[in-house]
Amino acid sequence: MEILRSLFLKSMRRRGAVRLMLGAWVAGGLAFWGTKSHAQNGVSREYQLKAVFLLNFARFTEWPSSAFENPHAPLVIATLGKNPFNDALEDVVRGETVNGRPIAVAHYSSLESIEKAHILFICESESGQIEKLINAFSGKPILAVSDLENFAVRGGMVRFITKNNKIGLRVNLGTLKASQLTMSSKLLRSAELVGTLD
């Protein structure tokens, strides 16, 4: 019995190893395909991931109903400034819905040109007018995200922090509260928090 069992386990392990190799090969293929698509929309893995994160914010955040014109109005993910995503954002949101709402992508070149945005990514090109932008969005149901240095510390809502080849989140609780948005505690738990609630 014991011998049979050990033989069986061995064979299982060997099979497992084969499967692992197969998996690695497939993953490699996918990675290759990924870099190919990366080459297509010409965006780095970092922004690919950030595009996914922007979409995921939609799933972990609740907007006041006043933020939408009607229950079926699309949730708009927008960029402000020089778009670093190319088509990555469009690729990520294709076919996705959140709470039954379709998702739209918009690119705005200036603060004045912004028509509708629920999640707004402030691009590096706007580094000069951070204070102005922060003030402009303060108290509005807009989830403003940026890569810019000290964005959250200075009153911005969410900042992507790249550290050790990983993207982390920093959330300013005061700004969040003032914006009437409700962010899932699960999101908050995985984020670094700044600011105070009062």
Binding site: G16, A17, L20, G23, R59, F60, I167, L169, K186, S190
Partner: protein
Amino acid sequence: MFLKNSSVKQKLMAIVLITCGVVLLVTCSAFFTYELRTYKQNAIEHISTVAQLIANNSTASLAFENEDDARAVLKSLKAEPHILEAVLFNKDGKLFVYYPENLSTNTFPEPPFRLGYEFVQSDLIHFQPVIEQDKKLGTLYLRSDMGAMNERLKLYSLIVLCVMVGTFVLAYFLSKVLQGQITRPLLALTDTARAVSERSDYSVRAAGTGNDELGVLTLAFNNMLEQIHSRDIALQEAQQKLQGHASELERRVSERTAKLSETVAELEAFSYSISHDMRAPLRAMQGYSSYVIENFGDKIGPEGMHFLNRISRAGGRLDNLVQDILTYSRVSKEHFELHPVDLDILVGDIVQQYPGFQSPEAQITVQTGLGVVLGHEASLTQVISNLLGNAIKFVKSGMKPKISIFSEVHGTEIWTKIEDEGIGIAAKDLHRIFRIFERVHPESTYEGTGIGLSIVRKAMERMGGVVEVESELGKGCIFTIKLKRA
């Protein structure tokens, strides 16, 4: 049945114990099965709950690729010691984080994952999708140890075993005590029945018990004994009475027999003495009438002679009668002992001595080898000469008598037969011929005293034998005398 020959006590106890055992076994099995099911169900529900909780808490970690947070979430499983492995895979099925940290990643399952629970060997595994807002973000894999269940089942088995043994022992002692309710009256009944059958003592009674069936049975049994007892007593009384009657009857019979034989003896003595005393006057009458005929015949005249001759002949007949009666009484009374008698010699002598038995008067054929019998020679001579005399006498007038004598051996007896071709005897008369003074024919046809066959019968009886006759009217007769072989 295996209990067929054991006592009621053993049967009762066996019934109780078997019933108890079976009931316990069934109950415990049901309990056990239920427990197993419940435990499995609970384990499944529990792992499903835990999985949902962890998955729900891991959504953001997966969504924002925060491995530290995911690890922290999985670490909360520390509170669940039965969870051996927990692994989070991202939405592509790639390993994200796992718990505890010392696991070998080689043994982790690989996609595609079959959602839901499954028992693998002694463990329970569960795959839970990690979903946020209908969006699948990854998969959680949990492996739970079912060793606890096995531990618990072992404990249950032990408890069941203890309960069974305990109950069995309890049932044993209880039944041992309680079965007395049934067996005690039964044993009392059995003892009583045994006493009755072994000693035929119907006065014993079974000890009575309550009003149940056994009580009724005991009562009925006692009633039965009561009845038998009273009948037994009645029977004994009746027997005693009967015995009294019988002995009374016997006494009376012997009394009467004594009286009767006394009378018979008196009668016989009387007839003997009369016969004997009659002979002297009879001789005188015969003698003097012969004398008168010889010496004074011419003086009396022919008519006187005729009457005198009649007187003489009548005297002769009376003498024959007296002689026969004397012979009969002698045969009846004489004491004699039995000796072997050679019938060949005896019959030969008889035939030779009597002129009437010889040719040409008669034709007598005697077969040789008649045999030797136990008898009294003189009486046997009387018997055979009487029978031969009858055979010669009872023929149609003018016929020559033809007689044959022969013997047959029957066991210890010799049957000697005397067969004639005479006139025979009618069936209605057969029963009369051996009685004294009975005559079938009037004396005027065949003279005789009517005593001859009585003498034959009496003599045969005295010798312990029998005389029989077969006959038909006109066809002769066969007389058979049966005697013991010497």
